[in-house]
Point group: C2
Chain length 354, copies 2
């Protein structure tokens, strides 16, 4: 077993994510292939299997963190990773349903360095294909017809509802002057934690694990999600556009009340006070007015957030959540090699730069 | 038992639909009340429980055909109607999820004589609240935690996928010059038949009925849906705007390839030929050009469809599907009083004018 502070097992994480991409791929493609035209083509574009002209492509289908975790969670209860394949497919389908709809709602034109689905195929198909992937996710589980699959489907539904609640909170926060850290963590737990928690437990459920094991793995995944999100929030303001594929100060442009912002606003001192004044004024602007901002305006806000300690708080929060996640693994008696992979993935999540 | 041709049992249908509205209402409201703000409010507006200003309202929440059928389907297998309540709620949630998204995709500004959700609360909330209702539908069933509920959830998922496939086909048909009757029936079976089939079987499943009974009731619901749709397609062209709440020639304005259009195009003769030429030219126009049409253009198309026999075909198809639906009821040994209600509802569906 490899301790968390011995450096990241990069090769191990690469292998784990690689398996998350490849092992469920045939089933994922078969599920998407069930959709009526033109939804099958639009979904294939979204997953990066074809380009906008319909030509086969080796696009970036995402990091496959969720399917990788689903497979590993079957192994955590002593089952073969293959037992988790329908769960891995279902979780990946729900994740991509949410990406399709969120990109449309947020007006995001780029995802994984490509035009988003609504941009290429129009808003109607973005809505419809998102709906189809969501329905497909339930279908893939429920058609197994077992009691385990029904339990897995219930967990997936709970996670999906949380995901949707989180998106509603995220949107409503954009129009507010301030959000406290508790509200922010609740929103991000819904938006990111819940589905990762499901990914980490769905394989255990399908693999015949008991509820206690599934709940412990759920807790690991939930806190892993918050650690991931803390890092994401830092990258959303200070990330390198070349690495993230997003504009500089991306989250500030959209008035996201992410962890660094919430923590900075709650801090004492003049930087926090000045930031509060600016964000109060910002909240009164229309999105169009706001987008006309000079770049230096965003730089000013980013500097104030950092000065008020928001960046340091989020970086520390990533480490705190990482520690809670790793501790949750003690609730399951699993093979040391499996545990080491969960730990390596958690290490990877808080050290990533994109 | 009342034969289908003895006149419609209007009082019986009114009572059945009334029960469909009232009996599941507390559970439906409780389910919607679980949604995070502001989705709970937006959903309450959609269901007609509050107006656009948030004041309590006694709005038109729809005919409640689906929940009424769900309750009746429990009685068909000898269970109490209450056994079907979660199924009635789930089916009604899926129906309303599809209305929210379809109104947005189709750009419809009015539903049940009120502004649609996307018009009042914006497209993002229409997407999100639709998603939430869809997720809630699965949750309401799966949280029962029984084997029957898992079977019901699987049927609901299959129906939801068909619904989404049907909407995709409907949209793609709008851009085509012609669609044959088989394609049209497949699309309308997906869009309307599948969820009605689920409504008619979900109560039987939750009430402990076997798969054969559920399948027979499913067949009744599927063909009832096609009968309903045949009537709807006639009303979509020739319906009285005051009764339907839609513009005259509503489906022609949107280039819908509904049953009368498909049947007319397939007919021999000059009217069909002239109609084909017009629709070929129409298919090349943008929606904006098309909306600039003089009203007489729609009247011309409607007259040609009628002359080519499209209206008569759809009216006959409604009666054919009605007969198949009623025959399917023979597959379940149910109390005569319950059977009479299924028959009365089928009679009502093909005689309605709105």
């Amino acid at each position: 077993m490899q301790p968390a502070d011995a450096g990241i097992d990069t090769a191990g994480v690469t292998a784990l994510l690689g398996r998350g991409r490849t092992l469920p791929l045939a089933d994922l493609r078969a599920a998407v292939g069930r959709l009526a035209a033109p939804m099958d083509t639009v979904a294939a574009y979204h997953f990066g299997w074809i380009d906008a002209q319909g030509r086969p492509s080796e696009g970036d289908g995402g990091k496959a963190v969720r399917p990788a975790l689903a497979l590993l969670s079957a192994e955590a209860v002593g089952a073969a990773p293959e037992a988790a394949i329908p769960g891995a497919v279902a979780v990946e389908l729900v994740h991509n349903f949410s990406l399709l709809h969120d990109d449309l709602m947020d007006g995001d034109e780029q995802r994984r360095h490509r035009d988003t689905v609504w941009k290429v195929h129009g808003p109607a198909l973005a809505v419809l294909v998102g709906d189809a992937l969501f329905a497909l996710a339930q279908e893939v589980l429920l058609e197994l017809g077992t009691a385990e699959a029904a339990r897995a489907a219930r967990r997936l539904t709970t996670a999906s509802r949380a995901l949707i609640d989180g998106q509603a909170q995220d949107i409503s926060f954009e129009h507010r002057e301030r959000v406290d850290v508790t509200e922010c963590l609740e929103m991000e737990g819904n938006k990111t934690g819940a589905l990762l928690a499901c990914a980490c437990s769905v394989g255990a459920v399908l693999g015949g694990g008991d509820e206690a094991a599934a709940d412990a793995l759920h807790a690991y995944g939930y806190h892993l999600g918050l650690a991931f999100q803390a890092v994401d929030d830092v990258l959303g303001i200070w990330g390198d556009p070349l690495a993230t594929g997003k504009l500089a100060w991306s989250d500030l442009r959209r008035r996201k009340k992410s962890m660094p912002v919430a923590a900075a606003l709650a801090a004492p001192g003049v930087a926090a006070e000045r930031l509060g004044e600016l964000l109060t004024a910002d909240a009164k602007k229309s999105q169009a007015e706001f987008e006309d901002f000079d770049e230096t305006e965003f730089a000013t806000r980013a500097a104030l957030i950092e000065e008020a300690g928001g960046r340091a708080w989020a970086e520390a929060e990533a480490r705190r959540q990482h520690a809670v996640a790793v501790r949750a693994l003690d609730g399951v008696a699993m093979a040391p090699g499996v545990r080491a992979q969960f730990v390596a993935l958690a290490d990877f999540v808080i050290e990533r730069s994109r």
